[in-house]
Symmetry: C2
Subunit: 182 residues, 2 copies
DNA sequence: CCAATAGGGTAAGTAACACTTACTCACAAT
DNA sequence: ATTGTGAGTAAGTGTTACTTACCCTATTGG
């Protein structure tokens, strides 16, 4: 998994050969298949590991915030921070796993779903307490937030461009919570 | 290209073999390589064709709207409509081409960039005329809108789930322009 | 009128790759 | 002493994207 991550920093999934992984890890190709079902499984396992850490960190931070808006702001900031700090994880999650249906049956995806449910609950609570507009559709709000986060990172991941996390996070939060219209 | 599109409706890019494409098109494998540089090029060409139509349609509709907000609303609605109506195109654009750097040097990507520039201009004009808040960062606003659109379609594309275009479009526009905070 | 050219098309390859098989070795538990 | 097990390997195999060398037909220019 370490060797594969190392190679993922240099090129994309399909350009990496099993021979190359084996050589970098200083084992033989056959051994890979004792630990992983196939090449994709190796990818999913890496994602799983990172996602676990990511989720634990975020849930800790959320617990420190009281209002729904503050919690969502923490999510926006922390997500951007995690994506920016861990390019390989981001690359796998945003660009490599989604095109195969296998992923959506993997354990890694189960974590994504659990995470989504947590956030939907925050939004629903915000609507209940009157913090958010009553006509808000929680699923759509979540899509707007997540979509913005992921799109903000795409340039960084694909072209290696850097961005100001604080600026982007407050920018997204401002639009989503206060609206862009004057 | 027709045969490939047909196959793309059933499975993902890497599960489709050149032999299969050739058989469906009732030609031999070799002929594919007289018309396309490689398998990826075939993918990009399909994207190119659809994107051209998509862009022409949207630019027509934009011309009919006066205010910046109305124009952006048209973009949101039309994008969702196009994605929903053309699953194969969406699948290619949102899931299959992005993981390879080749795409970002292709003609198809040049069209995406041109499209983005058009929209940025609309947003900038909206800030100038005072329709949008002066502190709005155009790039971030565009990322929020595009991210929301793309995320809204992902479920449809990946799982074949259907959604109410009108509801999602007005939902996104409401959040982005008026904000979710009460 | 016919020869040259070129484009549409094919059959039979080839190299590289993901993955498998059948095996060895070390060592711990019964 | 024997058996089982987990780590590891060497040498495959089938499939796949892509290539090569060729054929056939139709237009076009001298």
């Amino acid at each position: 998994m370490n060797s594969f991550s190392l190679l993922m920093a240099q090129k994309d999934f399909h350009s990496i050969t099993t021979a190359e992984i084996a050589k970098t890890a200083e084992v033989t190709e056959g051994l890979i298949y004792k630990y992983f079902k196939d090449k994709k499984d190796l990818l999913y396992q890496i994602l799983n590991e990172h996602f676990f850490e990511f989720q634990a960190k975020i849930e800790n931070r959320i617990a420190n915030e009281k209002t729904c808006v503050e919690q969502l702001e923490v999510i926006i900031f922390s997500s951007l921070e995690s994506y920016a700090a861990n390019r390989i994880f981001s690359k796998i999650l945003l660009l490599e796993v989604r095109n195969s249906l296998d992923f959506f049956e993997s354990g890694a995806y189960e974590m994504v779903r659990k995470y989504t449910r947590t956030i939907l609950k925050i939004i629903e609570k915000g609507i209940e307490t009157g913090e958010l507009k009553p006509e808000t559709n929680p699923h759509i709000l979540w899509k707007v937030i997540l979509g913005a986060i992921e799109h903000a990172c795409l340039g960084e991941i694909i072209f290696g461009r850097e961005f100001d996390i604080d600026e982007v996070a407050t920018g997204i939060a401002n639009i989503v919570f206060n609206g862009a219209k004057a």
